[in-house]
Amino acid sequence: MIKRGYYDGFGGAFLPEILVATFNELDNVFAQAKKDPAFWEEYKEIMSDYSCRPTPLTFAENLTRHFGGPRIYVKREDLNHTGAHKANNVMGQGLLVKRMGKTRVIAETGAGQHGVATATMAAKFGFKCTIYMGEVDMLRQRPNVFWMERLGAEVIPVLDGTKILKDAINEAFRDWVKNMDTTHYVLGTACGPHPFPEMVSFFQSIIGKEARKQILEKEGRLPARVYACVGGGSNALGIFQGFLDDPVELVGVEAGGLGLNSGRHASRLASKDASIGIAQGYKTYFLQNNDGQMRETHSVAAGLDYVGVSPILAKLKENGRVRFESATDKEVIDALSMAMKKEGLIPALESAHAFAQAFKEAPQLSKKDIIIINQSGRGDKDIFTIADAFNDPSWREFIKGKAEEYNA
């Protein structure tokens, strides 16, 4: 085994010995699939048949008029089955699980989108399924917990650590080190030990391939900028890969939480608060203290409050190819509101970070420019959080009534 999975010094595979053989197997199966053109065709076919691909690239006419600047397009990953780009990665890994002959899948989830996608894949392919989810996230993304359970998955609350995404990843690893013979761990983002960053990015690259083709069809030219939110980095890498070799500015938007100076955020690349470290099996920028202990993070979006970030994005930050910004919770709620009122789009709180940054920059761009916002998912899952943010009175009454009904 040689040193592999490095992106200008980020990445690697810091594995406990018990998992080395499992990763070798995965690496081999993935490498074979990746170089087999028939595999990509099979993948594309299943994504079109089961998940509405290619997803549309929607022209946002009203927003364009509102800002009076660039022509704004939205890549509609929300229209995937289960409502987010997570389906792309999950179905791809599902095909690999079939090749490996394993019968059970496990996954971590933050927003619950990756968990729901994994649960549907497991149902479709006939795998057993266990999802680990931090207790804090279970409470704020309750609709997705419901769907995972209805889909036949077992959802295990994680009560350790900060009780959010990173802690769910730890628990999934603890399951995997015991059950690797039957079980594949479907990691949900472009993080973790090699080959996960490469593999997840590979499956998500379908977003960028489509988006590039679509914008050339519609406009005959490339966009000036592409915006995507960044949790672990999978939807961002997905769309960015379509434009890496083009003169297109790529903007990754991290969770600004209560503001970069508040200490309550999850901006690893846009803030100065993160430093290079090694955890969860790979080397990247982490929000950690001087001892190397991971810090608490915060975001209104459960899918963005992760302590680490894709090693591939860490490289693209260092070499200047991607610009990283952040949007605060408040800016995100405002952007969400505007996307709904002006376009009838309902972005997930995660995706609304990309909208928020695009809205901040749109007034400075010219009418001749084009921008694309990646709408990584739909906001239905966030109904409780969004209702609270808007302090929606009739929703509140409804919930009270429902509670009384259950109490009766």
Binding site: M1, I2, K3, G12, A13, F14, L15, P16, E17, I18, L19, V20, A21, T22, D160, G161, K166, N170, F173, R174, V177, K178, N179, M180, S275, G277, I278, A279, Q280, G281, Q288, N290, D291, G292, Q293, M294
Partner: protein, 254 residues
């Protein structure tokens, strides 16, 4: 250094006992008392775990000890001070056990130099395979410290040899799949695995994960050189307090 100590000890005893504690758990004063008790009860060597916020290879017992130690404010510097005091006070080898980020953030060169200065013999870093360990291996060698590598039941024969080529002091064999602190069945099934481990290296072998009572250790006699007790003593301290540790170690009659 470590290996020759172990070989000498093995002339007196059939099997040696290594125990594990998490520094700062339940607090630093008790950590010291537990170590003192263990040494007095006849433990041959000890792993001192520097707590980490993401201990992925550890099960609930050690995980919670890590979390509680950190929640009570344990810092790496304090752990190093404690290790220094312990190494000065007691005449057995002490090793560090921690995850790689702790060494990396401190600076691998600085950390290993410090280990050598305060009299620590070696380290177990479960998330650092040799492939990722260039800087660590160089620094350990330079400071005359033993990097302890891990064999697992899923490791192919060829890789056992590869791992052993980087190891020093002894090899830590994990008894089964899974994390620390769960039950292991000490049965014939283990024999062929241990025989494979033995064939792969001339270094002494330690076996850990699930060792918790005299009959487990009796089973291991003649098969490995060191029995490792990890979660069980923490569980005892959790349930019955620091006072029972000495009697427990004596009950193992090593």
């Amino acid at each position: 250094m470590l290996e020759s100590y172990l070989l000498k000890k093995l002339q007196e005893k059939k099997i040696l006992l290594m125990t594990h504690i998490v520094l700062g758990y339940p607090n630093f004063e008790d950590s010291f008392r537990i170590i003192e008790t263990m040494v007095n009860a006849g433990v041959d060597l000890m792993e001192l775990q520097i707590p980490f916020s993401e201990p992925v290879a550890d099960g609930p017992v050690i995980l919670h000890a890590n979390q509680k130690s950190l929640a009570a404010g344990a810092r790496v510097e304090r752990c190093l001070d404690m290790a220094e005091k312990v190494a000065e006070s007691f005449d057995i080898p002490f090793l560090f056990m921690s995850y790689y980020n702790i060494l990396f953030k401190y600076g691998v060169d600085k950390f290993t130099k410090k280990m050598s200065d305060i009299g620590i013999y070696g380290a177990i870093v479960p998330d650092l395979p040799p492939e990722e360990g260039d800087a660590y291996l160089k620094a350990m060698t330079k400071n005359n410290l033993a990097p302890i590598f891990i064999f697992s039941p899923t490791t192919p024969d060829e890789r056992l040899k590869y791992l052993a080529s980087f190891g020093d002091g002894f090899i830590y064999c994990v008894a089964r799949k899974g994390v620390t602190g769960k039950n292991t069945s000490f049965s014939k099934d283990l024999n062929s695995y241990l025989a494979k481990c033995r064939k792969a290296t001339k270094l002494p072998l330690a076996l850990g994960f699930g060792v918790k009572e005299k009959k487990d250790i009796d089973f291991l006699k003649g098969k490995v050189d060191i029995a490792v007790i990890g979660s069980e003593t923490i569980r005892l301290v959790d349930n019955q307090g620091v006072g029972v540790v000495g009697d427990f170690i004596k009950s193992l009659k090593i």
